[in-house]
Symmetry: C2
Subunit: 302 residues, 2 copies
């Protein structure tokens, strides 16, 4: 199968709703509506870094490639619109793997009404995917990570450490959470529109590192007063430092009434924003080191 | 150097003009102007596929990564606005290589006023870059490849085969053309606004394959009547089948007056669009097989 045939095959399966021009030309064309800001995020998935051929089914690799990008759109309170996918395939990849990869990818795309606008195809030693997702949000309303203020309450969605536990055990609900994270799109909009959050981000690299980043961006410190909602069977360390949970971390003004759950997903207060050295996070009276996953410092997570 | 430090370092050097929010949050934010369509294109550059560590200077890899995306914006007659860059670095990459890579990348970005809106960083076995470029064009005015009609005249810019010659010889002006192609942004706008081209695309994979694609998209055939403008020292085969020239291929209505050059760049008529089997290209009375570079069928170009 050559490039043209593969592109035709992908284009035939890809939803193109919302695009003025989809796959097949030099560029895709998107016609933005008035009064919106557009959100852009990009994420790589690389064989032997973010996933392994032996353990990660092709469908899950496709799903997760898109889920990571959608999670960033959720973190800004946006609605995903379209995406572009670059895929470099390794010599071991066959047509069946590619079909399953796109199967998982497009299943998630359809679920959230995200058009696949285009991409690039290449060969490489190892599989490498790169996703760009575009979302939209009412003008000036994107949820940033730099708006937290002293006194704000800190919340997280869901239960943390599931993905790290799943990666360690390769079984059960935790493994499923690791393989097919659910982007918190509806929650992101709720947090922005109804809770009027002061800051928000998604937990991609672990609570300790991501909260450090939020505090650094906002020029504030944080005190974790717990309890940290922990995935069943996960250790506290996995909940604090484990990456890839893709839950939302957000701060609200202290008088904001936050429900205990949203659409069945628990929302838990875990602490308070304080004045102090920007980025300092205290837990049980001690500084919590930002030990979450740093893609660049370490060689791999998988 | 960790991810946060590297991102800070890149952000400090990156032009952010035109963005509502640049590098550092979950997403970049772009506020589109009214009355425009947005163009999106994505391209990968992979070590040992698109470039080699031993022969391609880091600065040229950075330049070319962006140039390939800008060339797609030029092909639609658009103006580039911003880009996102994902970079996976191999174990052999040091800080100096990264600095030079971004040096070449950002030099070209500044030249065309393109903001670097964000990206992703990772480690991998081999260097892999993926670029997304967003451009804008007046609503409904993007130059597509599916508008060529029987009787239209076919034109190319520049002289073809230079990049293929440069790759073969590794020296002189042809090597420079291979390493640092110049995206034809101003020409693309001229072709769209003044010549009212019926179709346009950039020559990334070789004239024979790219003209085949243009004809296929437009549902027409083509007759090459030559002469094919050939880079000094390149063979006719390199001019017909060599990739990565990043010149523009476009068609205009037969009465359109096309100047012999634009801003010093030659524009040459090479043939005529005909009725016939879609995609059929004839050259000197015989069908010309689409032999240009197919990224997906073959293992590499380097």
């Amino acid at each position: 199968m050559n490039e043209l045939e593969l592109i035709r095959r992908i284009a035939a399966r890809a939803p193109g709703r919302g695009l003025a021009l989809g796959i097949g030309d030099d560029c895709a064309v998107y016609r933005p509506r008035g009064g919106v800001d557009l959100l852009f995020t990009t994420d790589m998935m690389i064989e032997d870094v973010h996933f392994r051929r032996e353990t990660h089914p092709a469908e899950a690799v496709g799903w997760k490639t898109l889920a990571r990008g959608l999670s960033d759109i959720a973190a800004m309170g946006g609605t995903p619109r379209f995406c572009l996918l670059s895929l470099a395939v390794a010599p071991w990849v066959d047509q069946r793997w590619i079909d399953r990869f796109y199967g998982g990818f497009l299943r998630l795309a359809r679920k959230y009404g995200v058009a696949l606008a285009g991409g690039d195809l290449a060969h490489a030693e190892r599989v490498a995917c790169d996703i760009v997702v575009c979302g939209s949000v009412a003008r000036g309303k994107a949820l940033r990570r730099d708006g937290a203020r002293a006194g704000d309450h800190i919340y997280v969605s869901g239960r943390l450490g599931g993905s790290a536990l799943g990666l360690a055990t390769g079984a059960g609900a935790a493994w499923k959470k690791h393989l097919k994270p659910e982007p918190r799109i509806a929650l992101g909009r709720f947090v922005r529109e109804k809770l009027r959050a002061t800051a928000c981000m998604d937990l991609s690299d672990g609570l300790s590192l991501d909260l450090y980043r939020l505090c650094l961006a906002s020029g504030v410190a944080a005190e974790l007063t717990g309890p940290i909602p922990t995935f069943r069977g996960a250790t506290l360390e996995q909940a604090l430092d484990g990456g890839e949970d893709y839950e939302l971390l957000f701060t609200v003004r202290p008088r904001t009434e936050v429900p205990r759950s949203f659409d069945g997903l628990p929302l838990a207060r875990i602490g308070t924003i304080r004045k102090g050295r920007p980025g300092l996070v205290e837990f049980e009276g001690c500084p919590l080191p930002p030990r979450g996953y740093d893609h660049f410092r370490r060689g791999g997570r998988g």
